[in-house]
Subunit: 344 residues, 4 copies
């Protein structure tokens, strides 16, 4: 940590800071510059944090030097991790396709979507039983009935299940059915929920907050890890920006950035980020090319009947190409997909 004194700081102000730091067990190194005086602190960062140095008279700026996360950082764990979900690996050495319907609507719809997913090479099934909807009047999901459907479909297809949990109260229930618990973007800083899934003993998929910084995302993972659960997969799903052409702006650079900061696997959601079916495959190619450990994709057997997010779902006709992309056979995209007329 480094403290920058303001130009008007007095010798007494400086002495107060130094004394405070030393009382807290640290050391203060004073550098008197031409325009500013700077104090370098050596000692326990957590202790300095409680001193609230920024509020002290004469202090212009406090610059933190270390990263605030530990368990999930690559400094503490230099090799990148593999997370296993129901026997399926996510991480270095594999590229994982997670696919399925955005919402579990009926057993037939979910089964057909799972079959589509498997045909494209998916090794994990996603499906929402609890849907966070911006409107209280919209379909909220089938709840436990939806979890049962997912379990049945797992039985039929062999695909382990990833599903969202929206309330700490439901964690035990969801964990009894699912192989991996998903935390949605709107709960990215629901710390009670993060702690609850940390305690649940199941792998966790942590979506980035729609306006979460990379650091906040990693701190959310640290909340989970702090409970002893390091089986965390991070999912970049686009961030909120001024651009309205897409639902969110996929922050493709987040993948390599986070892979350098954390040992956890990082996947991409090309469905919710772009929000358009015609962008899913291009963004999937980009995700794989940039080094993502996998992608999570919406598929639906009949999107015109979908109860949520229909416009972004991939359909039967897309499965062959998706499979080719996942196997690295269709990474080079020199052509624009002309067949599909985009909405808006």
């Amino acid at each position: 940590m480094v403290i920058v004194m303001s130009p008007q700081a007095t010798a007494s102000d400086l002495a107060t800071i130094v004394a405070l730091v030393e009382t807290a067990g640290g050391e203060a190194f004073v550098s008197r510059g031409m325009s500013r005086t700077v104090v370098g602190l050596v000692g326990d960062l957590d202790q300095f944090g409680t001193l609230n140095l920024g509020a002290m008279r004469g202090v212009a700026q406090v610059v933190r030097i270390s990263v605030p996360y530990k368990l999930i950082s690559r400094q503490s764990h230099p090799d990148r991790s593999i997370v296993r979900v129901g026997g399926v690996s996510i991480g270095p050495g594999t590229t994982t396709l997670i696919a399925g319907p955005c919402a579990v609507e009926t057993p037939q719809q979910t089964l057909r979507a799972a079959q589509m997913a498997r045909a494209a090479g998916a090794t994990l099934l996603r499906g929402g039983a609890f849907k966070p909807r911006t409107s209280p009047y919209a379909f909220q999901g089938l709840g436990e009935a939806g979890l049962k459907i997912l379990a049945d479909v797992r039985g039929e297809t062999g695909l382990p299940v990833v599903t969202e949990v929206v309330d700490a109260h439901d964690v035990e229930l969801v964990a009894s059915y699912a192989d991996m618990l998903q935390i949605g973007t709107r709960n990215a800083q629901n710390f009670a929920l993060l702690q609850a899934v940390g305690d649940a003993g199941k792998p966790v998929m942590l979506k980035r907050g729609m306006s979460g910084t990379i650091e906040e995302w990693l701190m959310a993972a640290e909340y989970v890890a702090q409970r002893g659960n390091l089986d965390i997969v991070l999912c970049e799903r686009g961030i909120r920006t001024f651009e309205t052409a897409t639902r969110n702006t996929l922050d493709i650079a987040a993948v390599p950035i986070v892979q350098r900061l954390s040992h956890l696997p990082v996947i991409v959601d090309p469905s919710h980020s772009g929000g358009r079916r015609d962008l899913v495959l291009p963004l999937t190619r980009a995700a794989l090319a940039v080094g993502a450990d996998g992608v999570i994709i919406d598929v639906h057997p009949d999107p015109t009947t979908a109860l949520c997010d229909g416009p972004q779902a991939l359909v039967h006709e897309d499965m062959e190409e998706l499979g080719a992309v996942m196997r690295g056979k269709s990474l080079w995209q020199g052509q624009v997909l002309d067949g599909f007329v985009p909405s808006q």
Copy 2:
């Protein structure tokens, strides 16, 4: 709702849309323009929503016309509402000051802060017992012990209590102590929590999500209202933007905008938005001038010891001026406050 067909849409595409709308019990009015065909829909918006028209062949754009919230809208309730909290009114006809420490740390600190607040004219005490912290290693609040302190201080000062609840599981506990339940910005779309406070039978203060649109904010209020609880006060606390000079960017225009859309009272948080003590009073003046129904402000008897957000707390010396501002005696600010040297 209006559907815009794409230029490549065929007559068959159009016929399909019209048939679908009519099957859903609505009427479709087709306008053939020079460059586009547009279909106006008349009927039940909720039913059209489930049709997923945006995914249908030939559809370029779906434009929604009505607002999606009802109970909290001014259309349904033309007069602006007054919400009563422990006997204190918030709404048209009054300007309410809610003040107190960001976090409840000790009984003495909380009592002194409450006395500061009252001296400035506060009629409600705020204080955090459950603190949502971005880092799992930071002080998370005293929990129930903090609630007890707040209740004791209420007893001594007569100030009803506003405090944050972070988990649906804690709603009952917090409601047994507090006069008003606060939902923080990071839980602005924690729908389970919104429903729980909607059921709790206490007034609710709903902070805008740090990257929440006004519409999402109002839909969050609708979640609460839908449970039968219309005692909701909306709090604008700044939004996340590219500007790093402040923690958040106070969206001052949100106050009049929301007051036109909803009958609920709207207050402003000049402490967490600006994040700097020297901005609190200027932003308070702006808030009152623009018509906010009140403000909620951090005060601390000794910010150098504060366990969170020390740099933004107002101190003893500020109370007199705060009181003058609240009474409308110091609204005209032609001078720049020169005494305080801002951090950064």
Copy 3:
């Protein structure tokens, strides 16, 4: 400036940095922390800038300490400045109303708008002869003919003229007619234009870039000042954010922030920021309450015929209230303006 070494930095890396700094004539103070080594630099910031220290092996972070602007900073000029425009003062001690039509369309429209402005207490007339339009097919302004109209109207009303110049090539022409040259938000980093108006010998109004940070805005002012022209008024006009309820988000906190950083006057544009007629007076009150040195407002005698930005213009019926607000007689706004039905 402070350099933070990365954990993997070697002793050789550190020695290289120290040698480089000393060669550049500076001093390097090394602090070896528990997790990081930090080097404080003392010397000429401009020289350190050219060293490109951030690219050197072992360097994790470079933290700049001083502010990069000088001439316009309050450190160099502690008292706030008054800028005079055609005899009218803008700055501490006065609150200036600048008003007029967004675009100069006809002599009658401009004269009537100027009369409206003066009736409300305006001391300066604004009007666009050169309009930057996002579409090349939209009305681009009357050019020199528009400047002539403005000059005629100045003759009739006595109001000095503020008008936008969009191209360095036109600066001389515009300066021959106008009393103050305005740089629009889209040219906030058009450095050639900034230098040209710096040379023009007329006061300058510098609008903040729609996505410009406060620092970039101040550096743009420094471009002008560096040419010897310190007669600069800064205008906050809203920034681009994710919120679509308004054209821009008025950053009201920018006013006090900038007034602490720079001695230049700071005004607010409540017309282009909110983009709605019903927000103009509320935002004007907020601007004055927060301490702005003035406001610049769109008025139009008949907005239904306006060639640009009609929905935000104030009309005849608003002038009386505007005048009251400017005189401090209507600052307290406890009521919501119910008469006007907002668009959207």
Copy 4:
């Protein structure tokens, strides 16, 4: 265009709108919905635009249906275009590497950088002679001397030259040396400059504004095209968001989105977007995988001496891998690049 009337609109308000539209030569189709009345307009959009319908009494919302650009749209020109620069093609069928130093500093540095570029497979050389710097105290470029150096290096290497022009006044000069004129992000809405390069008879590279929407970017291209110059290449270089981990957030989805809306080629700048050397190759892979027509990359023989943007430049050791990526031999990136320690 569709007009949505507000709930309080009267029959007289509606009649006024209809009359206005008919007077302008259009047709108005009125649909009376359950909650709103909607008027569909058929006729000349440009004429409706001047009517300023949004300001009329009773109008709640005006929805525009057509896209405002024509010459550059795919509707007007269904096949994607190839733009030729000094004999080199950019567009469908080729993937173009444009590389060189961010700023032209010395003849040797520029020649060495050009040789590095060519070794990696570049067919065009970029280099800045006129540098837009946020600070007036920073190196602004060598001007015409820089153009001469670029011309000499073209002579030696055979690489045609792309260079930025910052002022309309310099267009003729720059066009006399360069093969392609670049418009930088800060001039994305410098309409005078856009028109000047439109007239210059040379191909244009148009960088997206750092906070420009896709539509504004396309309208900027329309400004150029309207002068008769359709040799335009669009360059996505990242947009400004709340995330501070990178200089800008690369909007990778913009590539396929724009390729569907416009026939112009679209390239990506992975250097200025990520702002970090260790992100350049990952982002290049992502750009090629998503279908970009090319990339433009900073290279420098010795970044520690670079006068601008040193931290993002690729160096000698990167050229082999860059070449492999461009030839499609290294698109699959399953590993994280561990060798480089990122700054910050």
